[in-house]
Amino acid sequence: MRHVIIGSGPAGVIAAETLRKADPAAEITVLCGEGEPPYARMAIPYLLKGDIDEAGTFIRKDQDHYGRMRIGLVEGRALAVDTAARVVDLGDGPGLPWDRLLVATGSRPSREKIPGIDLPGVRTCWTLEDARALLAGIRPGTRVVQMGAGFVGCIIMEGLLARGADLTILVRSGYMVRRMMNPTASGLIRRWCESKGVKILTRTQPLALSANGGALKVDLGEGRSLDADLYLSVVGVDPNLEFLAGSGVEIGQGVVVDANLQSSVPGVYAAGDVAESPDVVTGKRQLNAIQPNAAEQGRTAALNMAGHPTRFKGSFVFNVLTTLGLAASSFGEWQGVPGGESTEVLDESRFRYLNLQFDGDRLVGANCVGFGDHVGAFRGLIEGRRRLGAWKRRLMDDPARVMQAYVETAVPACGAG
């Protein structure tokens, strides 16, 4: 059986390793699209901070690992997929034939549609190549104007400040990380950033960028502008799908997959940022561009490809983010559900906040700022759809007791559960 995996991010690598264990005789090829050893994008913030070197971002530290597991790493980009002839077109040469194909091409930064976005001095922060450019380009005092304060935008700030950047963040909406945090949580994060010397302009979106000597002028409209040495565009991501045009694989926002992570074309699977799969709490199909999802889908897709039918438990939307040292996390339906109840505690001076969302006696979502301990229990409670019984009331009164609620409803010998 020939397995071809397009993409060497976490989804692709974990799929390849799982395939090897599940199918010792299989031929496994991973297509690496960036000319780098398989690496984890999410380690980039720590590379910028100087905590690790490039090798610290590698998904497996021992580069013989792939050889030992008989996983072939092939450099190149998929340009097209022929699902009738079952080959991946790499441009030159005969192409890669496959019996089972995994699309694990991840996503890429969305492109702002403004004049000047192609000028030198405009960068994003997504690949090792981007990280190298930022490391080379940012020195103490470098004026960085960053467009976007989504979760990648927030996570990289610490690295930028560690390099000595003079940082201004532009936020199109009124709120930072609004896709994962409610306005109260978002407000805390904003205040925290400002207290660390970051300038934040909300409801601001550049109209154009222009060259201004060796620097850039960022036109904010109404006669306002900012001078920047570097313009960092981090305004969200889009899945890498173009090469599937004409392949017959059904595309929605991403590659549409079923519970076994198989696409509309039998034998073609998708995992990670690129896959559009059903959410476990809402049942709605969606993209879920986070590391744990890529890892779990990579594993599940591989088991199916190896002929062990395995249902993906479903994507669960959750995320953790550290903004200049302030931890924040969000889980599930943090915005609440119709007819649901919610409760919260806020300690503004200590930057601590916890908001819980219930549906009946089940926890369905949460936002946390400054709470780090046992946060995994939120996943356990929400994804496991645990009934809280009497704990619902107790949590309404004191949300911080969530771990107690979890332990008592979880540990079998412990009563309520």
Binding site: P45, Y46, D279, P292, R299, V320, G376, R385, A413, C414
Partner: protein
Amino acid sequence: MQKSLHLDPNKCTGCLQCEMACAWEKYETFTIAKSRIKVFTFHHEGRFVPYTCTQCDEAWCLIACPVDAIKLDPVTGAKIVLEPTCVGCKVCTIACPFGTINYVAQTGKVQKCDLCDGDPACAKACPTGAITYVDADWTGLGKMRAWAGKTDTTAATA
């Protein structure tokens, strides 16, 4: 036969010897906040529940780690954090549905129970036998793992 920690809330008196033993074993301090095993107190019914990582088969933490900083110890079955490799991204802390891997601000890394190379300090310290290190089949762990696997998603898919 691999062994695992057997935690019996019915025998726990809440003396916190285990927390002290863990903090001492790992950090040479009696600051129980640093312990990787926690005793939860339920005042409303006067109960104490010792709780730590079950070294679950799914190893959510290990598989979620982007940089291979969590390794399986083939002898004890423990999932062990390699501190020098850990970047402190916290992804494992939200991936573990048991809430048993936690970030430590002082080190910038995460910590979890590593079974002390097969000789867990908490079990040795427990005076009441609420924490024992026994053959895996004997533990309530099997039940707990079954609990973890059992999810009620009917309402979601309906």
